[in-house]
């Protein structure tokens, strides 16, 4: 097993994730090929775009089954980023105009809900640098001082976990915003570590050296 699989499900901007993995000294491959994912030591599910389209692409390419087998059953270290994290929920109300929520992968007992900050002056999307307060420690946060946990967020929807034990950290934006979740070999961030300068690179580097 070698290399880092960055899951390609037809979205735009995986370049910065790939560059960040290279910058950390690892060898990324952007792929939706079952063998490449089977072969990788670590798997990253990036995410920019709309929930419904992303899930359609993932199902159409059979990526849901590949991830089920290699991540959930075989326990490969897995990091999902931004929309990638939201895809791990049961449902999302993003663009669910007909009132029917989109179904996600359902790896976490959670739903993705529109951000509703309690202060009308707070703008949507939640875009920019925000602090993350830890609920607990996690290996991907190793050696990062708490005062340095500022990360770059861009999103209008956020995950709400039913099991509080899944949450590693929250940001505050007129409401608690689930920022990092983790269970077993799976970790996910709502923010973009690949856009969060030194601290983000440190987090990715921790992930790439993580062997749960």
């Amino acid at each position: 097993m070698s290399g880092v699989a960055i899951v390609d499900y037809g979205i735009n901007n995986v370049r910065s994730v790939k560059n960040a993995v290279e910058y950390c000294g690892f060898d990324p491959v952007v792929t939706h090929d079952a063998d490449a994912i089977a072969d990788a030591s670590h798997v990253i599910l990036p995410g920019v775009g709309a929930f419904g389209d992303a899930m359609s692409n993932i199902r159409a390419r059979g990526i849901d089954e590949m991830l089920e087998r290699h991540v959930r059953e075989k326990g490969k270290p897995f990091l999902a980023v931004c929309l990638g994290m939201q895809l791990l929920a049961n449902t999302s109300e993003e663009h669910a105009d007909d009132g029917v929520a989109h179904r996600g992968l359902g790896w976490f007992d959670a739903d993705v809900l529109r951000l509703m900050p309690n202060d009308p002056a707070l703008k949507i999307p939640h875009m920019g640098w925000n602090m993350v307060a830890k609920e607990r420690d996690h290996p991907i946060l190793a050696n990062i001082r708490e005062s340095n946990l500022a990360f770059y967020f861009v999103h209008s929807f956020a995950m709400r976990c039913k099991d509080a034990g899944d949450v590693v950290g929250f940001a505050q934006y007129g409401q608690p915003v689930t920022a990092i979740i983790a269970r077993d070999n799976i970790a996910a961030t709502q923010f973009h570590p690949e856009k969060s300068q030194d601290t983000g690179i440190e987090l990715m580097s921790n992930f790439l050296r993580w062997n749960p």
């Binding site: 290279e22 770059y152 934006y173």
Partner: protein, 258 residues
């Protein structure tokens, strides 16, 4: 809560960094954009804006190359613009490594383009850039095509319209103050910030640490700065620690991050 952002703004002409006063006067060469971006990255700026001010088919290739090189070593958000007219233009810049694409003239000429781009790539990807000039004691008007063409739009009303068209943020620039380092247009910033619900980045006039404080206190989410960083000894590091010590909610400086 969200941190206020410090954003160097790069103007490119044929792939070189340049800077003017009031858009056209006193051209100064300001070096290599990739090298300068790396320095600013070490200084811990929050984001970069890169605008191609004389866009052409040839310069687009250079911009794509520059963004690709920046994104290999610099891990922060990039907003890129200049001559963006089609969904293909947006797509090309996003693929090169841009996180947000800035649209200016084409949004005025064809507002539905902004809506279409936001629907295709997400609201958060689309920044609308608005340049304006004072044309009377209490009256400002939008200028497009790099400040060459006057259009009969009030900058704040236009910004609100862009918000309705689903832009993710507004970059509002005063042509009168550009490069003058005489301070931001605080009245207009205050009015714009009080009516917009998307983040407001302001540009034009920053020449001192206090100017940045004034703009952020007037309601801006972010300050775009060019001349002050390029031509004075006020570095992003110095500005950040000054803002931090004055109690503004910015990221901790890199010196306190070690």
């Amino acid at each position: 809560m969200l941190k206020k952002r410090l954003i160097p703004k790069f103007l490119l002409r044929d792939g070189r960094l340049v800077k003017y006063v009031r858009f056209f006067e006193n051209e100064r060469a300001a070096g290599n954009p990739v090298t300068t971006a790396k320095v600013y990255n070490d200084y811990g700026v929050d984001e970069l804006i890169v605008l191609d001010i004389v866009p052409s088919a040839a310069s687009r290739g250079r911009v794509v190359d520059i963004i690709e090189r920046m994104s290999e070593e610099i891990f922060m958000p990039f907003t890129v613009g200049g001559g963006v007219k089609t969904l293909d233009d947006v797509n090309m810049l996003l693929r090169a490594g841009a996180d947000k694409v800035s649209v200016n003239s084409e949004a005025v000429r064809r507002p539905e383009f902004l809506r279409e781009a936001a629907r295709t790539f997400g609201d958060q990807c689309m920044t609308v850039s608005i340049d304006y000039k004072k044309i009377g004691p209490n009256h400002a008007s939008v200028f497009i095509d790099g400040g060459r063409e006057h259009v009969a739009l009030d900058p704040i009303e236009w910004a609100q319209r862009c918000e309705d068209l689903h832009c993710g943020e507004v970059l509002l620039g005063s042509i009168d103050r550009d490069g003058t380092m005489s301070g931001y247009d605080l009245d207009l910033i205050h009015k714009a910030a009080s009516v917009l619900s998307v983040p407001l980045i302001v540009s034009g006039g920053c020449g001192s640490l206090q100017h940045a404080i004034d703009a952020l206190e007037a309601g801006a989410s972010a300050v775009a700065i060019s001349s002050m960083f390029l031509f004075t000894d006020h570095s992003p590091i110095k500005l950040r620690s000054h803002l931090f010590s004055r109690g503004l909610d910015v990221r901790a400086s890199s010196s306190s991050r070690n």
